[in-house]
């Protein structure tokens, strides 16, 4: 700690702090343009100049100067004011003054400073910039005439997003921020540069000319897309979400967002939202009043109860309170047939982790990954399913110098990070490689075996998974397997990352267990600072597991329910916030189930393909329209807040469950989410002692920063078998989409509007396929047509298609396997 005085105030701060940070702590305001909390000090704008007693004779930039013992800092004086004013005058020489039409007007740092320092008139005159604006892309608009060259956009893109779109080009007065070859922007479109820009040089195009910042009502809530649980601050005007505001003060994401979080909000405003209940009459879905719809639901459910039973399929985008009530409702309906997210993909948590570690959640929190020495990411898709957690990994690699190991079947963002080592395996064989790594640890005596159960059995099982054998199978070299295992064992702090979701249902239990084995053997499991992360694809995937939206003992899970429904052994299906027809594996089976089920109720916000088959459709509310809590993939319980009103007569899922319950004579009524949460705290052990009102801006992490694991038992899991086919199809997430809901949001659609089939360059060349060609994929007697995309990510013989698009009907081919043998016809 260091003692210093700022404007006469005594303060003690960390040794690593700069004068600016110390001043912030002391509550002294120093103006800045180029400083950002999450970026490294830069010192470009010279607005933060201050006087330091010990360095008399010149002014010192506060944001780059580290504090020293006994420093005496003066932040305001006549001289400082004069110098700062001159700096602003220089900036304004060629800055175009178009505040009335600039969307930043009202929250522009330059505008505020110009006002504070009374920089009018300007003593200097010069030519104003007249550069062309970049309005090519639909999401980020760049107007370099307004730029003050603070470099924040270039730095955030490099340091945090690790994409590196921008750089300074030219010199002197002509210096500007530009992309490679000064072309239009073509990047991830995460909009981090938008959030960083202190002026109106980089702006969100969907918000162009929509409103002024001071008109917007700001509502802090949690993003409804992935399990990362980023805080999004909705900018609401006239009951419409107009934009997502920058907010780095609260939440887990430090103000970082991905393309979905920042630009994917528009589906909540969609005109296609369901506004009234629909009931099937004479074969057509017609709008009816709630009473009629509820009568039909009650009658159908009662019939099912006395008939062959009822199944409930839920999505993982409901709040904890809603999931809890749904479970109660299922209990009231007398059924244990309750499941979520296809019933397969989360088994890494509920089976893999539970068998080995005795827990059903990730063991660490996100920020600690920044200080990990070695990070193993299983599947490169991790950045694409959880981009903002991915940014934490970027920072670990770039700032902490972490070694990143990527075990995956295709290349991706992570593989391009500096020093990243990719173990590129054939599809579906990740478990084999993990097994081989575990074997190396045991063979070389690197493994932590104290208090670990099941070592002998594991050793026996792993005899078949020597690095050489696995290298033959998977194509990952034996040396790199050994090397990766050694690095992981040697690391002081390590993190193992893995994502789960609907397109990753193959080997889910095995992957979870194999990753847990590795974490136990390297000692990472349960160690402070290290973590094992299995992150859900949807906003409340972890909540669904915590609250037990799982089949009861002896009851049917999602797959069995669908099978039973198809065979006519189930009388009713209740599908909540899920579109099984578009997103579950094996479309034919789902289709048969939905058609054969005598009574189908779908509760959703859109008339999804599944809802079109329903007997009753109940209109529900989106995340922006309800109150409650989500639990993110690091177990952080965060408040979801209502920003806008629900369109039409739609209702929140919570009140729909209550209505159905009371219509059936039940007692499920609560005064609101708070009351339900109190009930959750009573019944769910992990949530015990947590009060709804106490969930503050940072949320509450149940189990604490480092989750105590209750067991250390390694279990042997069998690896996959390679698919024997010259061309293999794999599916998964793309960066721009999440689930199927993002295909109704304008932002993500602006970047990836249509389904595609991705080829590596070698394959494309040898097959004679060019970008945009229509290609037919054949497998198992069915075929689908997709437009080709040629990239450098895919290894030979592997093609990739994202699962998000209902129109692609990819699940006609995808039946839950890790890789699908396909035939290609042009």
């Amino acid at each position: 700690m260091v003692n210093l005085t700022i404007d006469g105030k005594q303060i003690t701060v960390q040794k690593t702090a700069t004068i600016y940070e110390a001043a912030q702590e002391a509550g002294v305001f120093i103006p800045v343009l180029c400083y950002a909390k999450k970026l490294l000090p830069y010192g470009a704008c010279r607005v933060c100049l201050v006087e330091v007693e010990q360095m008399k004779g010149r002014l010192i930039p506060a944001c780059t100067t580290p504090v020293t013992e006994g420093m005496a800092v003066t932040t305001t004086s006549e001289e400082i004011r004069k110098v700062r004013k001159t700096v602003l005058e220089f900036l304004l020489v060629n800055h175009v003054i178009e505040c009335p039409v600039c969307d930043k007007g009202g929250e522009c740092d330059l505008q505020d400073l110009t006002f504070d320092y009374e920089v009018y008139p300007n003593r200097f005159t010069g030519e104003k910039f007249d550069l062309p604006t970049d309005e090519v892309n639909p999401l980020i608009e760049r107007n370099m005439n307004r730029c003050v060259l603070c470099g924040k956009c270039a730095r955030v893109c490099d340091e945090i997003v690790a994409y590196g779109s921008y750089s300074f080009i030219n010199r002197g007065f002509e210096t500007k921020i530009a992309t490679a070859y000064d072309r239009g922007l073509n990047c991830e479109f995460c909009g981090q540069c938008v959030s960083m820009c202190p002026v109106g040089a980089i702006l969100p195009r969907p918000f162009k000319f929509k409103a002024r910042p001071w008109q917007l009502k700001e509502v802090d809530t949690v993003c409804g897309y992935c399990g990362n649980g980023c805080t999004v601050t909705l900018g609401v005007l006239n009951e419409k979400v107009e934009t997502i505001r920058f907010n780095d003060k609260i939440g887990v994401n430090n103000g970082n967002l991905c393309v979905r979080g920042r630009f994917g909000y528009s589906y909540v405003n969609s005109d296609e939202r369901l506004q009234k209940p629909l009931l099937r009459k004479d074969g057509n879905l017609v709008e009816v009043e709630w009473k009629e719809a509820l009568d039909a639901v009650a009658e159908g459910f009662q019939k099912a109860q006395s008939g062959k039973g009822l199944g409930v399929l839920a999505g993982a985008r409901l709040t904890n309170e809603e999931l809890f009530l749904l479970k109660k409702l299922a209990g009231q309906l007398g059924t244990g047939n309750l499941d979520h997210s296809g019933g397969e993909c989360y088994k890494g948590l509920t089976e893999g982790f539970r068998e080995t570690l005795g827990v059903q959640a990730s063991t660490g929190d996100f920020p600690q990954v920044e200080d990990c020495d070695v990070i193993l990411s299983i599947r490169s898709d991790f950045y694409e399913t959880h981009p903002v957690f991915g940014m934490v990994v970027n920072q670990a690699v770039k700032r902490h110098g972490s070694k990143l190991l990527v075990l995956s079947d295709k290349k991706g963002k992570f593989t391009k990070l500096p020093g990243a080592e990719t173990l590129l395996s054939r599809p579906g064989l990740e478990v084999n490689v993990l097994n081989a790594m575990a074997g190396v640890l045991l063979d070389e005596g690197l493994a932590v075996t104290k208090d670990v159960e099941g070592i002998e059995e594991l050793k026996k099982g792993l005899a078949d998974y020597t690095p050489e054998k696995v290298a033959d199978q998977t194509g990952v070299s034996a040396d790199s397997i050994r090397d990766a295992a050694r690095k992981l064992a040697a690391a002081k702090n390590s993190a193992i990352l893995l994502a789960y979701g609907l397109p990753y249902s193959a080997h889910s239990r095995e992957l979870g267990a194999a990753a847990a084995n590795l974490a136990i053997l390297t000692g990472a499991a349960g160690r402070e600072g290290s973590g094992l992360y299995l992150c859900g694809e949807k906003a409340n995937s972890q909540g669904a597991v915590d609250l037990g939206i799982l089949p009861a003992e002896g009851a049917m899970g999602a797959r069995e329910m669908l099978r039973a429904a198809a065979a006519g052994d189930l009388s009713a299906l209740y599908v909540v916030a899920e579109d099984p027809l578009s997103s579950y594996p094996d479309r034919a089976k789902v289709e048969a189930a939905l058609e054969k089920a005598p009574f189908l109720v779908v509760q959703d916000i859109f008339l999804s393909p599944t809802a079109q088959k329903a007997d009753v459709v109940l209109p529900a509310a989106s995340f922006a329209e309800k109150e409650g809590t989500f639990t993110n993939a690091e177990r952080r319980i965060q408040r979801v807040r209502r920003g806008i009103v629900i369109p039409g007569e739609a209702k929140t899922d919570l009140s729909i469950f209550e209505m159905i319950s009371s219509r059936l004579g039940g007692q499920l009524t609560y005064t609101g989410p708070e009351a339900v949460f109190a009930e959750i705290a009573k019944e769910v052990p992990q949530y015990a002692g947590i009060e709804y009102r106490e969930i503050g801006p940072q949320g509450i992490v149940w189990g604490g920063k480092s989750l105590d694991i209750s067991a250390r038992k390694v279990v042997f899991v069998k690896g996959g078998n390679p698919v024997d086919s010259p061309i293999q199809l794999i599916t998964g997430s793309t960066l721009y989409h999440s689930g199927t809901i993002s295909t109704r949001a304008k932002g993500p659609l602006a970047v990836i509007p249509d389904p595609f089939l991705e080829f590596g360059q070698e394959d494309a060349q040898s097959l004679g396929i060019k970008e945009g060609d229509m290609v037919t994929l054949k497998s198992n007697g069915t075929e689908i047509r997709l437009s080709a995309k040629v990239d450098r990510r895919m290894p030979r013989g592997v093609v990739f298609a994202p699962y998000h698009f209902p129109s692609a009907q990819l699940n006609r081919l995808y039946k839950g396997e890790a890789a699908i043998a396909v035939e290609l016809v042009k």
């Binding site: 505040c99 009335p100 039409v101 007007g105 309005e135 000319f209 409103a211 002024r212 001071w214």
Partner: protein, 131 residues
């Protein structure tokens, strides 16, 4: 003292003589209105559109909250007011809107005869304000 009385009263009586009245026979006779008079607003036209750039300063400053602006992007990519209307029933003619306007797109005219029969007719949309 008597002298002062006479002096004062002479002014009073002078005003009683014909041609010295300050009252005019409105509406037959009209006074010339000062340039600074704050009457009905006028949106100043530019070449092919209104000068207004929809910066929202007038609705923000308006103490009576009688101005509604909705901005949009026109074909040229410029910001323009898709909707601009003033509710004259609420307007207090303070002139802050004119003062706030950064592009001198709004003026106040001498027009003060704003009586009407319907409430709706007091809503002055862009078309009526552009003169």
């Amino acid at each position: 003292m008597f002298k002062e009385f006479l002096k004062g009263l002479s002014i009073t009586f002078k005003h009683m003589l014909p041609g010295h009245s300050t009252t005019v026979q409105y509406p037959k006779e009209r006074l010339e209105i000062s340039d600074r008079f704050r009457g009905l607003h006028r949106l100043v036209p530019a070449h092919d559109r209104e000068k207004c750039v929809a910066c929202y300063l007038c609705p923000t400053v308006c103490p009576a909250k009688c101005i509604t602006v909705e901005s949009a992007e026109n074909a040229k990519g410029e910001k323009y007011p898709r909707v601009y209307k003033i509710d004259m029933l609420r307007c207090i003619f303070c002139g802050y809107c004119v003062e706030a306007c950064p592009v001198e797109a709004l003026e106040m005219t001498g027009d003060f005869e704003l009586a009407n029969y319907n409430r709706e007719d007091f809503e002055f949309a862009k078309e009526r304000l552009l003169r």
